[in-house]
Symmetry: C2
Subunit: 362 residues, 2 copies
């Protein structure tokens, strides 16, 4: 079979570690000698039990989770979480704080409002088109929770450090930077992530939820929308997205065993970001769109001197095997997503191309 | 790579056509020469557009759908549909009829009740442990819809013909028999199916919904729980479960191009069912659990003279490469699931084993 692989800078679904893809491929017709594909085994089998339990155990180790946290595998992506979080954790009569750092934060806010829940926008960077992470935050000390988006895929910003919220629990959408760096989980009551950027394929969402939040879940909401339905059954109330959970397990194994853990993952991501931002800053041709102190190490957003040049840039890059460099359709420009699975040699190839392109077109 | 494949009689996730698995495997590192895995391509790319559009087109051809029907790919399995159906299509002040033919029907009923919706049980076969499909149905001519379960995976029953409900739209859970036979879609306002039995892997649910139902959807429910969110965006409001949609596309292609359509699929399924039921009926040892006129061609449920023999039967079968024959944990006994992808030679191997087992242990 062909090995014609490109450098993939897609924002999500995104690059996965080649070792993981090769392992899936090699055992695809016969998983661990059971005579069935991973897509054909029962979720009630010992094979799948081993997979999901290993994925949970690796998550616990990587993030240093204590017994208060449950690791759940859900469906519907982060978008479903936007609805489930206020439904489960924000009672009528209470108020929650949301920090608006762009498209995905705004969608989370909207889903709380659709349910007529009371929320406040405690901070926003909308005044400068979300080019930065807000510093001044007007927190309500009685808020049921504070919701933040740790990395903003579209705007190219990321929280470098998390705000001090006192006793108010933080809930964070980490769809685009989960497992990219160590976390002090004591700061979070819940984190969640659609898998398709840093940890797996589309169609599975990881949620890590602390018991004090689970204690709030009312039993009046539909079964599949209650976190306790999943926490009580190891994510197997009904058939889980087995292939997605399996891929996550292999990616977490790769982070632990091949990369060597989240400190080393973070160092690799830092090196990639420094290489690319360093080049952009010194180019005099490319222009980063996010404030320097708010830059994302996952999604590097930048502009060229004209939209015509941006179009040519994206097309020329693709012709040379550098894919996915077009900015999100809502903002335009260019974007290189350099998640965990993107290797430094891919970033170097991009920098080399960018230098050539600048020399020819600058 | 090894080709140690067993005969897989799992109830779901279940056997998939070997040709489909081989195609996925062969192109897993480089989908159609794009240099990325199917798990790495953007859902906004032309590659994925072609996949989802082809899956929709094949569904339309196979079921003879006219323009009133939308083909949707959702997440959360049939269990999420149990909640979404009354949420979207049953206004307060209206009533819906449900026919209770076992575990899954009962769960659908429960999810309507959790939402305080008004429903009636128009028929039930609970009096004889759901061993039959009810004939006498007490329909409400003003019902918002009638909900049925076309095939009952756990009890081994299936609707051979569908009830005449006049102007009341039928909504059917077809998780375990979709695409197993031709359908007169004029009878249905909606059918839906978790993919993991007849058409794909776990983690994607197909829903086919008629416009008159979509016109009922209120805009006060969360975005991800509204059918119109998906019907308006070709199932891509947010990232869909791409790998699942891709597998469904390949399975539908297999049904159309390798099998030759749903008439031939139905004939193959009839032949397998006749072979297995014929043997059971004449054995004097095995005992089918469903009434003859209500038997499922997808899930063949049967008992042996004792539970000890049933245990030995399941274990001996597995040792010979016949897997997944244990009945559902809620009912015990044995069950052979013989969905579309199970070939007649697998059924013959099972019959041969059953004959041997009977001769040795009868």
């Amino acid at each position: 079979m062909t090995q014609n692989r490109i450098h993939n800078f897609n924002a999500g679904p995104a690059a996965l570690p080649l070792e993981v893809l090769e392992e899936i491929q090699a055992s695809f017709l016969d998983y661990k000698g059971c005579g069935m594909s991973i897509t054909e085994i029962s979720h009630r089998s010992k094979w799948f039990d081993d997979i999901i339990n290993d994925a949970v155990a690796r998550t616990r180790r990587l993030l240093g989770l204590d017994d208060r946290y449950q690791v759940l595998f859900l469906q519907g992506g982060a978008s479903m979480q936007f609805a489930m979080i206020p439904m489960n954790f924000l009672a009528h009569g209470q108020s929650a704080d949301y920090i608006n750092t762009g498209t995905w934060s705004a969608k989370a806010i909207k889903e709380a409002q659709i349910q007529n829940k009371t929320i406040r926008v405690a901070a926003s960077s909308e005044d400068r088109n979300f080019a930065y992470i807000p510093k001044a935050i007007d927190l309500d000390a009685d808020a049921a929770y504070v919701h933040i988006t740790s990395n903003n895929t579209i705007k190219g910003t990321q929280w470098a450090a998390f705000p001090d919220t006192g006793k108010v629990p933080i809930i964070s959408d980490m769809s685009s930077d989960i497992m990219s760096r160590p976390l002090d989980m004591d700061r979070f009551a819940m984190i969640y992530a659609g898998a398709q950027k840093n940890i797996g394929p589309a169609g599975v969402c990881m949620a890590i939820v602390r018991q004090d939040l689970l204690d709030r879940v009312p039993d009046t909401i539909p079964t599949m929308l209650r976190y306790t339905t999943f926490s009580g059954k190891n994510s197997m109330y009904n058939t889980p997205p087995c292939f997605g959970v399996y891929t996550i397990q292999l990616v977490l194994k790769w982070i632990e065993e091949t990369i060597g853990g989240l400190e080393k993952m973070a160092a690799a991501n830092r090196e990639k970001g420094d290489r690319l931002y360093g080049f952009i800053d010194n180019s005099g041709f490319y222009q980063g769109t996010a404030d320097a102190d708010s830059r994302s190490l996952m999604n590097v957003t930048f502009r060229l001197p004209s939209e015509d040049l941006e179009k040519k840039f994206v097309a020329d890059a693709l012709a040379l095997g550098l894919g996915g460099l077009k900015g999100h359709r809502s903002v335009g420009g260019c974007r290189a997503s350099i998640y965990n699975a993107t290797r430094i040699d891919a970033v170097q190839a991009l920098v080399d191309f960018m230098k050539n392109f600048m020399d020819k077109n600058g």
